[in-house]
Symmetry: C2
Subunit: 108 residues, 2 copies
């Protein structure tokens, strides 16, 4: 419950491999970053590093762009989704708090 995403989210893939895996051009991949849709990490030397999750995200982005959606709209959607996910997490945490209050601490 804290490790299963260890491979999917680790930023270890350079842009050339991402290009092969997604079929996008490096220009496109960098542009989506410029538009705040994707957030690669960097090596000490400055090379971008992506995760498998980033690759899937890039393919979603590319599909939307093909459908005529503009980058700022995609960003808005993503922020909305992110907010929803955070709220869901919060709700879950509150329910857990209720349970702990009523039935005692089960975690330790």
């Amino acid at each position: 419950m804290s490790n299963e995403a260890s491979y999917k989210d680790k930023k270890v893939i350079t842009i050339g491999i991402v290009r092969e895996l997604t079929g996008l051009s490096e220009r496109q991949i960098r542009y989506y970053e410029e538009r705040k849709l994707i957030f690669p990490e960097r090596t000490p030397g400055g090379s971008r590093k992506y995760s498998f999750a980033d690759i899937e995200l890039l393919m979603d982005i590319a599909e939307k762009i093909e459908d005529g959606v503009q980058t700022f709209e995609i960003r808005q959607e993503m922020m909305k989704d992110k907010k929803k996910a955070e709220q869901a997490k919060l709700r879950k945490k509150m329910i857990q708090g209720q349970l702990n209050a009523q039935f005692g601490i089960r975690k330790a």
Copy 2:
């Protein structure tokens, strides 16, 4: 049952990242390949590509080397393990065949 290893086994990581993740030198990583302990793929340009599974394997190898085990011994162990895994798979397949023979084809 055919996709959960999709991230772990995909060869997408360049040697510099592997160096960071394992703490090994590039010299060591390339040497273990020369000794047939590890089998990276290549980009069209010739750069090595490793998987997360390779990284874990490299760390196992490094540990054994520290313990004084020689590369050819490690290779022998690996071949033995590989053979065992294949036999286990075979047994599984034969049992499945027995089941199918007795209770009919359930797969389709």
